[in-house]
Symmetry: C2
Subunit: 475 residues, 2 copies
Amino acid sequence: MNIVQPLVPPLSPDLIAKFRKIVGDKYAVTDAADIAPYVTEERDLFHGHTPVVLRPGTVAEVALILALANETATAVVPQGGNTGLVGGQIPQAGELVLSLTRLDRIREVDATSNTMTCEAGVVLAKAQEAAAAVDRLFPLSLAAEGSCTIGGNLSTNAGGTAVLAYGNARDLVLGLEVVLADGRVWNGLSKLKKDNTGYDLKNLFVGAEGTLGVITAAVLKLYPRPRAVETAFVGLASPADALALFNLAGERAGGTVTSFELMSRMSVEFALRHGAGCRDPLGAPLAWYVLIELSSQAAGLRAPLEDLLGAAAERGFLSDATIAASLDQRKAFWHLRDMLSDVQRFEGGSIKHDVSVPVAAVPDFIAQASAAVESLIPGCRPAAFGHLGDGNVHFNISQPVGADAAAYLARWDEMGAVVNRIVTNLDGSISAEHGIGQLKRDLLPAVKDKVALDLMRTLKRTLDPNNILNPGKVL
Amino acid sequence: MNIVQPLVPPLSPDLIAKFRKIVGDKYAVTDAADIAPYVTEERDLFHGHTPVVLRPGTVAEVALILALANETATAVVPQGGNTGLVGGQIPQAGELVLSLTRLDRIREVDATSNTMTCEAGVVLAKAQEAAAAVDRLFPLSLAAEGSCTIGGNLSTNAGGTAVLAYGNARDLVLGLEVVLADGRVWNGLSKLKKDNTGYDLKNLFVGAEGTLGVITAAVLKLYPRPRAVETAFVGLASPADALALFNLAGERAGGTVTSFELMSRMSVEFALRHGAGCRDPLGAPLAWYVLIELSSQAAGLRAPLEDLLGAAAERGFLSDATIAASLDQRKAFWHLRDMLSDVQRFEGGSIKHDVSVPVAAVPDFIAQASAAVESLIPGCRPAAFGHLGDGNVHFNISQPVGADAAAYLARWDEMGAVVNRIVTNLDGSISAEHGIGQLKRDLLPAVKDKVALDLMRTLKRTLDPNNILNPGKVL
């Protein structure tokens, strides 16, 4: 990745000592080997360096750290579980790392109000478990849930597989506690569903990737746990047919449609070829597939799902379909879906794009982008899949068979420009789920409304005038 | 209402002429009789004056007006359908009125993406109709829907009767077009459900009551229209039992629970006494009532509703219940509910509070607040009702029988202080739905987190440095 590094002046030993004193020596990581996991991203796409990783154990310590950083113009990179995919959590040039993982208390679970108050360092899977323990659902769910944290989820406005029914991370939060750049603490830990007493502050910090403030705790929404689930694996001729099925599902089964995952034959084929335990749920190959799942509190979803698939078949936009007859079969459908991304590495280099377009434009996007990349690099193999109902396509393209992987991957930026141009022409987004971080920062000016970009810069200057919070990320 | 008026210097005839020229004489209202409807609120609680009401027909004209206002430090009050209940839309001291009602185009309805792009002046009922015309639901629904506008709905983050299932106005918007204080236009009319390319700007303007920018258009979310609806009228012993029923409904019927309205016997009694066509759906009087409604795309909601009510009766937190056997009966249930507010005037003076608390605290709030007001004014009659699932209580208190209405209403602020103290102690909000406007501005410093208030002031100074946008409202 060709990222311009900001210039961060080295910190004096005196200043470092002051920061260490706030958290105590035990929680100020300075040994190079101990620092390594904090400055390296799991795919090794981003690596940086830092003189010290600070691991505060209280909100008050976070406040003291930021107050001192602000006074001394010291750059700080907030970090949760270090699972981000765009380098937002990795220092670039000697910034302090502020790891929130010790703030890991679940402060309250209120099953009656359907809320849960978690500190930033609570691992997502732990939050899910705490909700389940009181017979509730915290619906945020994504591949990294065993190590990513609530603070990171909110700072990146994480997506995942439950967005269709429950929204992005932004939609799952009622209140926040945030330490501002100058060390003041905003206590906005509201459990209210309705509160029209002034400006909405929480959405400023959700999705800001730690550049406007440091989220230290959040009030999260809980939901009833679904009692009934029905899952079907459907084969279709085209993304347009999948879109027709999606709209029919909305009309027939509305709020019970909790997943609607689109998969190209190529992406499924890679999984069948390389994924342990992956089997084709349908008899003969089809060009496109959809995994559709209905969930509800009440039983009796089988009939509506059968009716839906029957109506779709009658109207001609469904070629074949099978409904999971057992929990094992349901798991097998999801296993196939979950393997799609991972297995692409067995087919050589893969150039990946996490994009979104208006739902109606998904078929157009896939057609145009596929044609464009095949024309740019003949023989390349689009293996697209994604969350159709969110307009979110993981448009990943594997190298031509037998090509040189390194030479192929060297054309990432070139192919990205082609794909992003189509995304922009369709009023889409070049980052649906993963954010901007380091990876897409320099792409932003070309695709973002100029007034919006200027507003973003104005907000950054206002809320972080000394530019200490994750400088060089997003903007 | 005892509101401190800001000092707005009178505008020179030259300057007024410049503003008039932007919209043309036909759309610059200067005749006192024509101005009157724009400067008087429907209950006559708020009235102001203005030298001119500007009625731009294009976004470009709005931009020119704000640019000129900004250069000349001229205060401007944006206005939609003039139905706000806290005086936010009424000039206080000679500000210009910027009426958005001529921006009333529905620019696009996209049934496939489930979005609709409306200009600010589109009347809410028209937006609902446009959605219905393509077999979709735009769920925002409130008493003023025949005259309030989308711009006003978004600027006040309107609530209403569908919040439980679909959220507040804030939750129904995907993108915005906003004219900033300096006349620049931010085009944020995104139809995307997922877009993590930078800060969330739209939520800054939603609910800001026109003090940070002027919303000129919005992309709104559409939903499938429910095919099946089942409605029950339930009698219970207490708000605690209603809360138990609400949670059981969530567990048994989850996403299909679209309304859950709590009503005290006193509020129902007033409707039975004074409301044309209001009849008691149950045989004998009970202390509390709930109107519960399930909706879904699929048929077959009767059985789950019966199961739910049966289970609640078994557990002892339901005294009596009847399920609407016909559309007429369903309408009768809702007619009774809809009359609750209006009929209170027949019982003399009514002091009203639109508050919210965490859902679990609703029974506590009602008990504490009822005891407190009865102790303050012996014989006063709490006639509370509200949206239990949102934690939102309309805590209205009728005067003691035979008391002097004026003398009773003179104690509004005193009673408000008592009620708001209880709300604040329970971590609630003194304005759940209606906003701050003029009415509650001076209450805000006492109830709002100091850092939050300071952040709000900072945002106001940053986005509107010349304080031209609805000055003296909210802050």
